[in-house]
């Protein structure tokens, strides 16, 4: 990979949460524990995993909404891990976010037109006389007529709101769009519209997208590469097509086994129900308690991503002591 291909690079990022509040007790735990990943220019990188796996925390760390406890975050070649707010602002323009609930991210008292114009004014990106035209152009690009400028967020449907939110993010010409469960609340018919909008915009603008989702169908449809998270660790990374065809990590295998084409339940791999031991407490692999191929050493030391990857896998990396020795 040529270095200038790299848009975003996370290196051993750790985000720790201390139990807070009046009743605080117990220990802090690492919601993200030593995650390293790279997003290249113009690619859609999918971060998948179940709730609590830390995928949203990764996104918030790179937007500096959570301060990493350790590790480095490089964006467009600059180390932004501990950059002061003043110097972070121009960086923020280059990485924009689209959330799951667009109604919550739009001010209910601002008309859609004002909501889209605000970031242009804030970052002084276009002459005051051009703002209206720029907003119109973006609205039509995301499939909304200029009439929507006059409307308030509550007058829009979920799909229209998400179009407006995407438009607002793109007005700042970001190089990275972070989309956190951006289609999860939408109904099937509208979800297809928004997924296709993401696909078109991405191809047209050569945009990089960090697409966070629990929906594996969505990840397979939209993403070039996929990273799978389990309890704060990245357990497998690789091209989407290759990973969905032949997952290597036993957790990825169990996860992807839930979306079989035939949707039959009989032969599906089953996992024991949530064990009582918190995986965060384990010294070794966090998947140990549920893993079908575990060996004694797996409980002793955590497997490292990449160490286990075989050369023939090329672009793929697995954090598992056992998987590489087995046929995919």
């Amino acid at each position: 990979m040529a270095p200038d291909d790299v848009l975003l690079h996370l290196e051993d990022v750790v985000v720790r949460f201390a139990p807070g509040g009046f009743f605080a007790r117990g220990h802090s735990f690492s919601a993200v524990d030593g995650v390293s990943l790279t997003v290249r220019r113009g690619e859609v990188f999918g971060l998948v995993g179940e709730s609590g796996s830390g995928k949203t925390t990764v996104a918030k760390a790179l937007l500096r909404l959570h301060e990493p406890a350790a590790g480095r975050i490089l964006f467009e070649g600059t180390d932004i891990t501990h950059l002061p707010e003043r110097r972070l602002k121009p960086m923020r323009r280059r990485m924009q976010m689209v959330f799951q609930d667009p109604l919550a991210s739009l001010n209910p008292r601002h008309r859609i037109g004002d909501a889209l114009a605000a970031p242009l004014k804030l970052h002084r990106l276009c002459a005051p006389g051009d703002i209206a035209r720029t907003v119109d152009r973006m609205l039509s690009r995301v499939g909304l007529s200029p009439a929507f400028k006059q409307r308030f967020p509550h007058e829009l449907s979920g799909g229209q709101l998400q179009r407006a939110a995407i438009g607002r993010a793109l007005l700042l010409s970001p190089s990275l769009l972070v989309a956190d469960e951006a289609v999860s609340k939408l109904d099937a018919s509208v979800r297809a519209q928004i997924l296709n909008l993401f696909k078109d915009l991405q191809e047209e603008l050569k945009l990089a997208i960090l697409f966070i989702t629990h929906d594996l169908h969505v990840a397979r449809y939209l993403c070039h590469r996929v990273g799978v998270m389990y309890f704060g660790k990245l357990v497998e990374v690789g091209p989407a097509a290759a990973m969905f065809a032949a997952p290597r990590h036993p957790y990825t295998q169990a996860l992807l086994g839930t979306i079989g084409e035939d949707a039959a339940l009989a032969g599906a791999p089953t996992l024991p129900p949530d064990a009582f031991r918190s995986p965060h407490a384990a010294p070794g692999c966090r998947y140990y308690d549920r893993c079908p191929i575990r060996q004694p050493r797996c409980d002793q030391a955590p497997p490292v991503l990449g160490v286990a990857a075989t050369a023939s896998d090329g672009d793929r990396a697995v954090a598992c002591w056992e998987a590489p020795a087995r046929p995919a």
Partner: protein, 329 residues
């Protein structure tokens, strides 16, 4: 269909508000046989949940429910008082909802919940004396739904358990109740993929153990395919297609069903097909077919009148019906 355990005829539900009356359910007829899982699928606003709640009589007070008939094992429910319905729900109807927390009393342990159902069931059957103590049966029930260390779990409060565990225990309670009707409304929607798969497998066990009529409400086509025998597709308050699950997914006949499947499934390299537009207004719907404004096959005749739901022409099993002028006898 005379062998139906649950029969719904001419169900209408309106919500009256200052902005006007909203027609949430517009004349639904459905039958569910004993031991059968009928799926109701649709997007939000389709009326699928309201249909389920209307049968259970759990809708809020401002809902206006009208039905020609709602019969459970031949017994008419529409004339029952609210008190009689509450007693019936406690004994003959099992419910599994999206949010399992709401099904529990937060101040009571798991043991209290299971004990209540077991004892109520025993009292109804008048064989309490013959039965073994509730604790042993509660443990067996928990074990059957795959809960490790049942003794420990019995002593826990609902907030100490994950959503998947709560949904498992709820299924154990439905097994204990042995109802005639089970309504499951998006029971796995809040759960992670792997837990969802486990709960669906448990649901399959549940249906084998009980001889009830099952109504499974979901927006997820994959889930419906996996657990349902027959499926009713709802759109804007109407059932637009009913078919055996396999036949529906292999060859959808209503343009909406067809579009919905194409919007969720794409083969590698193919593009998801979008359904243009949005749901019609529930206050002022279009005059003819409710799907006509979004339909790729729309013709001038579609706007003339609401098409009735009719048996699919040329269907050998007689199991399929469609609400579309392009099909039908």
């Amino acid at each position: 269909m005379s062998d139906a355990a649950l029969e719904i005829r001419g169900l209408h539900v309106r919500f009256v508000s200052p902005g006007g009356a909203i027609e949430a359910v517009r004349g639904v007829d459905l039958d569910v046989r004993r031991g059968e899982v009928l799926g109701i699928i649709g997007e939000s606003g389709s009326g699928k949940t309201v249909t389920g709640l209307a049968v259970l009589r759990l809708l809020p007070e401002h809902a206006r429910v009208e039905a020609q008939a709602i019969r459970l094992l031949g017994e008419e429910l529409t004339h029952r008082s609210d008190d009689e319905m509450r007693a019936l729900r406690g004994l003959r109807m099992g419910m599994i909802f999206q949010n399992p927390v709401g099904a529990y009393n937060p101040a009571k342990r798991v043991a209290w919940h299971l004990r209540r159902i077991i004892e109520r069931r025993d009292a109804a059957r008048r064989d309490a004396a013959a039965a073994e103590p509730w604790r042993g049966r509660a443990k067996a029930l928990l074990g059957a739904v795959g809960i490790p260390q049942p003794d420990r779990v019995l002593a826990l409060y609902p907030h100490q358990l994950s959503g998947g565990m709560l949904q498992r225990i709820l299924i154990a309670m439905v097994v204990a109740l042995e109802p005639d009707l089970v309504v499951a409304d998006e029971p796995t929607t809040n759960l992670d993929n792997i837990v969802e798969r486990q709960i669906l497998q448990l649901f399959q066990q549940l249906r084998r153990r009980l001889s009830a009529a099952f109504v499974f409400i979901t927006h997820d086509m994959g889930v419906a395919h996996a657990v349902c025998d027959r499926i009713a597709v709802m759109y804007a308050g109407q059932v637009v297609e009913v078919a055996p699950a396999g036949a529906l997914f292999a060859a959808p006949r209503h343009p909406y069903t067809e579009a919905l499947l194409a919007a969720t499934r794409a083969r590698a390299g193919e593009r998801l097909r979008e359904i243009p537009g949005e749901l019609p207004s529930a206050v002022a719907p279009p005059p003819g077919c409710l799907f006509e404004p979004r339909c790729v096959h729309a013709a001038p005749g579609c706007r003339a009148a609401r098409p009735p739901i009719v048996a699919l022409a040329g269907d050998p099993g007689g199991e399929r019906s469609v609400r579309c002028v392009r099909h039908g006898a």
